[in-house]
Amino acid sequence: MSTEQETVEAQIEPEAVQSDATVSNEEQPHTEVAEHEYTIDELKQELAETKHKAQENWDKALRVHAEMENLKKRMQKDLEDTHKFAITNFAKELLTVMDSLVLGLQAATGDSEDVKKFREGSELTIKQFEAVFNKFNIVTLDPLGSPFNAEQHQAVMMQAVQGVEANTVVNVLQKGYMLNGRLLRPAMVIVAKAAD
């Protein structure tokens, strides 16, 4: 509005620089009033709003930052786990080969020279196999005689056995294996029944 007034007055007295100066002198208080059109209350409110918005944005930034940190950690762990358990499927398949070797050795009974040689060879192969397992942090579970542990053993059957405490593993049908602390395959076991 003040600028309009200014132009109108400037049009009325276009000739004098002096009058121009007077105009601007006269106008100055007007302009100042115009700049102060906001009341203090309004300014206070706007400041509060701006502060609130700044705080909101800051919170958002913090949250995004925290989320990023979490994501980084999770990714790191994911990567570690992927490394640690990359061979899981392959190792599981190999276990059956190991089982067959052990079964073959168990089946080879007899006293002839040939059978003895075969047994020797099988035993060595199994040892080699175990060494490879060791290298890759695969641990064998052979819980015969220890208490049944559902985290590592799979109970297949219960059997009443004289002189054995209930819930003890009395027979291991198939050995179990752990890879880097995670169960690869539970040990298949027969558990002692409580005497009725």
Binding site: F148, A150, H153, A155, V156, M158, N167
Partner: protein, 132 residues
Amino acid sequence: MAKIIGIDLGTTNSCVAVLENGVARVIENSEGARTTPSIIAFTNDDEVLVGQSAKRQAVTNPKNTLFAIKRLIGRRFKDDIVQKDIHMVPYKIVEAENGDAWVQVHDKKMAAPEISARVLMKLKKDAEAYLR
């Protein structure tokens, strides 16, 4: 920031997932498996097992190993399905005071949702371990 997880509570198996970059991602449980058997066991030393470990000891503890509990949720004891179940499962299904089908373990009666909640608790815990 709080995360939202989705849980599929199944009759035999359950699964938990989280939305990551707009894609649902199944979270592996503490044993590294993507599904958890919906099986709950109360051992003789008052331990509660949930999931794979409960399944592994089922043979040794059939009366206190609960499975397919979801079938009982929201059913009356007198329902045909419940009556049929009674003859099929090794655990004890009993009638609650309000007529609902509950189960009894170690002389303690429990509601079916109470049992299923154990599965949800485990899945939540596993998800928390992953998202931590």
